[in-house]
Subunit: 546 residues, 2 copies
């Protein structure tokens, strides 16, 4: 297998990408026959590897070099790992951006708009002022002794900074904390979870992490010993899951979300995929659910969540609940319910179900991606296994303290009566209602395009439209040894400067094509984006119409 | 092997620790016969596992539980991983600290002094003001528009904050950055490396990380595919290396540092251990060197570094240079030289030697552990392998921006003429000269104890005294199924409140016993620590004298 992977990587490096291979970390899977989505087009389902190269000017190893490390000698799991949201198209975009500076007139657009990743502040979203005031005061605590500070900061940010400093031993924001994070901050987070769910939360169950990604890695590292260990993941999925499963040497066991029912999750499909994996000797350890969905934007109904919890309970699976978009719900008929709340409502306690919930400061209305804050709430593990998780956290000592502070702030924002409350609420509601508006505008625009259907973004930060590509476009893509949706996305980038990620980076039903587009460009840019997209799509379809 | 590990872990959980087992991720090794350090006492060399349990009140899995994850089903590499600096003794200390609050009079001390980990600000060291001013301004950039700010911040911190914000696209400190870190900050770091070494540094070789630990993990993950891949590590070593090698499934190939020559590193021993490993079918991928040394405090002579570079070149090994203590040198006859400078001075360029240098904001005179900033400089890798490293960095998106900013500041502090320069230099020199003084006081105190010898702390933040334990103490430790040095350290903790880490957590020549003690308690605490330590040691020796 190592040889296969090296050839695969070398192929990528040489830009002669293979088209039909299947990543060996994925179980082969047959899409549910009940769904009329499959087409005779080449199947590149879950074949993410074509996107993993990161620059287009790589060259293969110099064979005369005496350097000791080669693609042949590195860990093949690294070769196998793929990460589309920072993949090939983003690299092309970065080069275009550089070139734009020098050759302004050579392009039909004057800026690159990064819709490839949920990174709100990179597109002009401003941070929540209260959060940043508290962070600045904690970073430079001697400000708290200065009289001028009262003119510069809100009363409650000063109060909060004092409270936080009092929770840190010696007020030392520059010290390593407890491996799980500062206890006083975990108390605040646990109280926030209790207030959200109406069920108790234990600060000792909270592990603060540098964003949600390291938490996901930690759980994968714990649960996966070999390819005989599997994780049930949605298709489409956020590629952090496929990447971390590959890096830790396990098998991704896919289950399909049903586009026809708004990316619904059917227990019968879960069950079928689980049994198929088991019949191949895979011990399935856990089920990943992303709610609200990424890249698919759906918000699960509570009834559906109950079925998922019961399924995990019956099948002895750890439920890994990616709940980082819990604040991002845009439609009045849907509401976020944490899986922990659902499990507790069903009467399942600590001894009944193993559940890990991931949360991040990068998403929500705050969008503080650069702060790398987040946590996981780990419930339903025996104390000896919990000790192993603690040990893994200890090896990296602790997550960054600013991120820890911010995680406590997002779980305990200003309350009515606080000095900052009104301005905070205005900022928050402004961001969330604008996101909802942008989602709707983009969704309508996409749905108006020939051959494009787009489910509504009920939550999260993305649209994941399906595009019916003309056969001639598919053939042109094949001639370029690229996936048809990647072909479309590259054309889109070159024509408009808009960066989106091909559906093949997330997985999709064979023969269907999608792309993921964030809803994050600021409102004043949306009309221009819609125009450019519409114009591009029309000319693309005209060029390749059958 | 999995069964062995589980039993091992269960044994630990039950507090019936095995004494003589050898961790299977370590090659068995014979200490150099030329060294007169071995004794007939039980060999617990590199047997770190006794320290990996993290609380003393763990209970084994409830066998009636229906929870799916058990020690039998988790990744055995996780079970194998050990991390002494946050191990058992620290957990006992944390419990003592809790109990002290309630039962002040029950103990012969009134506080716990954590000398187990290089965490300066937890023991009262203040952050460098300039660094914190810049961080606060970057966190809450609207301060820069307020007139009051000029009364609160130095002119150069305001200038620097502007410069940094200008280097961040859209001035968005809340956005994910480039996967390697913000390009403008990498430029600053590369310029700092150039100024330090007198040789060029390329910002594209810099990977900014959340402290040095994730960088070490990344390299281990790249280089290790199985137990057939080995990494040469010093013994004693910092347990991040043994832990990350275990987690990534490789083999630690140990080489001894020679206590008799001030923890010198002999090429002949390196060569011998390399050949022994190769004869067992281990492909040795890399050599780890920690300079200044942790836990051993030595600063390598340039001549020795040249030999090491030549050895790596000849043997085709990646040189992993842990240089996080590069600012911590306390003796006039030693100077820090980066391995990159040494390699370039020898005429080795990019195509000749693969070298990774790790740096962190947690150490030096700044000690900003909680900020989790750091970088690795990756040189001498082919472009295709480099792309794989880039991909690994991408999967976690980026390191935290405050840590990135701080990494640029420590590599480019205030310069003569800058508004902050004088106060900055006073803070810096005050911290470093105080550390040197504390190191010398503690070293002298330790050397005055019966049966204790302690090499000088030329650099880093630690002393690593050797203790000749009476046979009766060794027998008492065996009766408690604990390593003799751990027995000593627990007694020390219970008698004095001082937390140190047993040598067995770092590895040592069989039959020798050590502990690691940081030099970080503030100066006014040192006399009391010396008194308590001296008194304790005397009574310990009296109790167990043969």
């Amino acid at each position: 297998m190592r040889r296969f992977l090296i050839n695969q990587a070398k192929g990528l490096v040489d830009h002669s990408r293979r088209h039909h291979h299947k990543s060996p970390s994925f179980l082969s899977l047959v899409p549910p026959q009940s769904r009329p989505l499959a087409s005779p087009a080449p199947a590149s389902l879950v074949s993410l590897s074509r996107f993993f190269s990161s620059t287009s000017e790589m060259s293969a190893s110099d064979s005369t070099s005496s350097l000791p490390v080669t693609l042949d000698s590195i860990n093949p799991k690294v070769l196998k790992c793929e990460y589309a949201v920072r993949g090939e198209i983003v690299n092309i975009a970065q080069k275009l951006q550089e070139d734009l500076k020098a050759n302004k007139d050579a392009y039909p657009f004057d800026e690159i708009i990064y819709c490839n990743i949920g990174n709100p502040q990179s597109l002009g979203q401003l941070p929540i002022r209260f959060f940043r005031e508290v962070l600045a005061l904690c970073d430079h605590a001697s400000l708290l002794d200065e009289s001028e500070t009262h003119g510069l900061f809100s009363i409650d940010s000063i109060d909060r900074a004092w409270k936080i400093l009092d929770q840190i031993p010696g007020r030392a924001t520059g010290a390593y904390s407890h491996s799980q994070g500062i206890k006083g901050l975990r108390d605040v987070i646990a109280a926030g979870i209790e207030a959200r769910d109406g069920f108790p939360a234990d600060p000792n169950d909270i592990f603060l992490t540098d964003g949600a990604s390291p938490a996901v890695h930690m759980m994968m590292q714990l649960l996966l010993s070999s390819e005989k260990d599997g994780i049930l993941c949605p298709i489409p999925q956020y590629p952090l899951y496929s990447a971390s499963i590959a890096l830790h040497g396990g098998s991704l066991v896919p289950y399909y979300l049903d586009e026809a029912t708004g990316w619904g999750l059917e227990i019968s499909d879960l069950k079928k995929q689980l049994e198929e994996a088991r019949s191949k000797g895979i011990a399935v350890r856990a089920l990943v659910v992303i709610n609200p969905g990424n890249p698919t934007g759906q918000v699960l109904a509570e009834e559906n969540q109950r079925d998922i919890v019961n399924f995990c309970k019956q099948e002895g699976l750890v439920l890994l609940a990616d709940e980082v978009y819990q604040e991002n719900v845009y439609v009045p008929d849907k509401k976020f319910h944490s899986f922990k709340k659902v499990a507790r409502s069903l009467g399942y306690g600590e001894k009944d179900i193993s559940l890990v919930s991931f949360q991040s400061v990068s998403k929500g209305y705050y969008g503080e991606c650069g702060k790398r804050g987040g946590y996981m709430e780990v419930t339903g593990f025996t104390s000896d296994v919990r000790e192993q998780i603690y040990k893994m956290a200890s090896v990296n000592l602790c997550s960054n303290i600013s991120g820890q502070i911010l995680a406590s702030l997002v779980m305990s924002p200003p309350k009515p009566g606080d000095d900052s409350y009104d301005s905070y609420m205005a900022e928050r509601d402004g961001i969330l209602s604008s996101m909802a508006k942008r989602a709707k505008t983009l969704e309508d625009a996409l749905n108006s395009l020939e051959g494009v259907t787009c489910n509504r973004a009920e939550g999260a930060m993305y649209l994941f439209p399906r595009i019916s590509l003309p056969q001639k476009a598919i053939e042109a893509a094949e001639a370029e040894k690229t996936a048809p949706d990647a072909f479309y996305c590259k054309r889109l980038l070159n024509a408009t400067g808009v960066v989106v990620v091909p559906g093949s980076g997330f997985g999709q039903v064979p023969g269907t094509w999608h792309f993921r587009c964030t809803i994050l460009p600021q409102e004043d840019k949306i009309p221009a984006i819609v125009n450019r997209l519409t114009e591009f799509h029309k000319s693309f379809m005209d060029e390749f119409r059958n």
